[in-house]
Symmetry: C2
Subunit: 402 residues, 2 copies
């Protein structure tokens, strides 16, 4: 048992994460499963949308020139010679003096160049009284008006939104190439833990980290590999860390320098322990390294430290390998601090706060084991390495959990 001799700065640790979190190779998925996924390639359209001239209003397809001069005091009369429904035939013709009833989305008949909206005309059997002028092309959807053949529709690394799925559907894409989701092997260690879902017995702590980390990994676009708590035995932890299916390994517990803290030694034996001990609070015993180019994160077992180290390092790596932005996945809000937050120069702090009436209130109970503080908190404030903290009255940026 010994303390940390040296603690790496947050800046160096983040640079390590960024250098060791390569974007994964693409895979093809059905468009219907692509919501929120990250595009691997540019998508260009093979078609015009719409691919035909179509009516954009319910009304009457006409030659615009036939409406010139029409007003409600001086209606002009046209003969109704047909009707076209959506999905119908576009080979009918409209000659001078004629109109064809048409519905929104229906193909325009030949020779027609405008649609008179239904409310600007009045029909009596096959006669139409037109009350208003329409200029040529009015209420006509042009070929390629939405998307032209060859247009770049979406760019690489775009995280697909609901409307993007609509756009992809409209150009006939049934599948898309997206960045593969990182498979994250979660290793929970700690002989004092009983499984999530069980009721705590004497001297036992129920595993809070696997439920929390599972949800966080899901949020960041990872695919979870987790079975059960791993007993504190080096050969079992080693086997988990070597999972060949994993793109990223996240170990919770046993990350420090105590005699049951096997993970750092194992990582240095089977791969590379690049960083162990970070100048931050909580989470200072966090570590990271690589096994076969797969980043491995050693998170402290204390749940607040675990959350903090996950959010700073592991979550970032998962987002980056999945093609997402390294940015925090939290909304931000600025507010005035009502009580001071203390820190020390040389260490970055993660302070949980609540927001009351727009003001920022630090949470007094700050122990790394008090997970409920992160449920009571609305978010957290980061105190940079070069700061001794913030006095009351400072405007601070809060990253919102909710």
């Amino acid at each position: 048992m010994r303390g940390f001799r040296h603690r790496t700065t947050i800046k160096t640790a983040l640079e390590w994460v960024d250098q060791n979190s390569q974007v994964l190779a693409p895979e093809v998925v059905a468009r219907s499963a692509a919501n929120g996924r990250v595009l691997a390639d540019e998508v260009a359209s093979d078609v015009n949308v719409p691919s035909f001239r179509r009516a954009m209003m319910d009304g009457f397809a006409v030659q615009a020139v036939d409406t010139f001069g029409a007003t409600s005091y001086n209606p002009l009369s046209l003969s109704i010679v047909g009707e076209i429904l959506p999905g119908g035939d576009s080979h009918q013709e409209v000659h001078r003096g004629e109109a064809i009833g048409i519905m929104t989305g229906a193909p325009m008949p030949l020779r027609a160049d405008a649609v008179i909206p239904a409310e600007k005309a009045s029909r009596q059997k096959d006669k139409l009284s037109v009350f208003d002028e329409v200029p040529p092309e009015r209420h006509v959807g042009k070929i390629g008006e939405d998307i032209q053949q060859g247009d770049t529709v979406l760019k690489p690394f775009r995280r697909l939104r609901p409307q993007d799925l609509g756009v992809l559907s409209s150009i006939g894409k049934a599948e898309v190439r997206v960045v593969r989701q990182p498979r994250v092997r979660l290793v929970i260690t700690g002989d004092e833990l009983c499984a999530a879902g069980s009721f705590p017995k004497q001297n036992q702590t129920v595993d809070a980290n696997s439920p929390m980390l599972s949800a966080l990994i899901q949020r960041d676009g990872g695919e979870l590999l987790f079975d059960a708590i791993t007993p504190d035995r080096p050969e079992l932890i080693r086997e988990m860390m070597l999972d060949p299916d994993a793109d990223i390994v996240v170990v919770s517990g046993g990350s420090s320098v105590g005699q049951e803290d096997h993970a750092p030694r194992l990582l240095s034996e089977i791969g590379k322990l690049a960083i162990h001990g970070v100048a931050m609070r909580p989470s200072s015993p966090a570590g990271m390294g690589c096994i076969h180019h797969r980043p491995v994160f050693l998170l402290p077992g204390n749940p607040v430290s675990c959350l903090c180290a996950y959010d700073f390092f592991a979550g970032r790596a998962i987002r980056l390998r999945g093609g997402r932005s390294a940015d925090w996945p939290y909304q931000k809000q600025t507010g005035m601090l009502v009580r001071k937050i203390s820190s020390v120069v040389g260490r970055q702090d993660y302070a949980r706060v609540t927001i009351r009436g727009g003001q920022v209130v630090p949470i007094a109970i700050g122990g790394a084991s008090v997970l409920s503080s992160t449920s009571r908190a609305d978010g957290f404030v980061i105190i940079p390495t070069d700061s001794e903290g913030f006095p009351p009255g400072t405007d601070v940026e809060v990253l919102l959990y909710g």
Copy 2:
């Protein structure tokens, strides 16, 4: 075919949504499936967390008084009489002059009241040299320090966060009562449409709305009921609208006043058509009503109108029935408008914009059919009913799609 005689204001339409979107009854789900779900009831703890006194550092459990006066120049000596691992036995005793090796998370032995961190002592076989004082209770996790038995841990209508799942696990909750997710029957009509996933043929438009709406419904916490495009035949649309499994019905297409616009008439026959025609652009042909206390939304088929009407009305109803906030599910950003946005008094507009270098640029192509504009846009600006628009230089709030 006729136009709308009267258009309801957005304000009245939103009031109707809020009055007709009752929160659904609770259901019990496994905690592991509860991420992002909305709690139906308050959760109180039946246990203390931790339920036993535990070490918060790796080191040595001692009687604090035995360390008083210890410095690196004047180390004090203690006898190591045992070792306690996490999950181990707490019935060992520490007497004056003694120390027991202990790991983070392990139960404190009897009579010990503090932990000397490993780095503040040095071990030679069964002798410990202590270099620093520790006050009583230092590095000892107290019973109930995180959560006390009887404490309210989470309040009703809380949307569960990753750390909340950790907290629920730590108090032994394997299941939680959450608000049931609204089942949303999606009805896509339009004989000009071919199914999402197919390649557009002559005079056909590929259904873009079902992929987009499916993703939006999922985002808002709805459970999707959707099979295939419904042909423009009243009896088939009626059957879909009457789906007894639905908590909310969303109809896309056929919402206006044309001859193929069956949905409004059907809704007024089999339920109540409360609002038809809203003073907004796009989406003015939107409608809403009820069938057996289930809200029904009639969205225009034009995809931009469909998105807009969904976001204003249907999405809000889904969020409310599922116990979520009515608030927009979009982040907001304020920026200066570089070109004017025009509107008219008496109508609320939804203007798509991009953000370039922090400035807000309206998108020129504004047709309700140009879905790709909502992919090119970074978000939208709402122009209120009492406004004629915004001149260049105005600071406007953008709701961000991304």
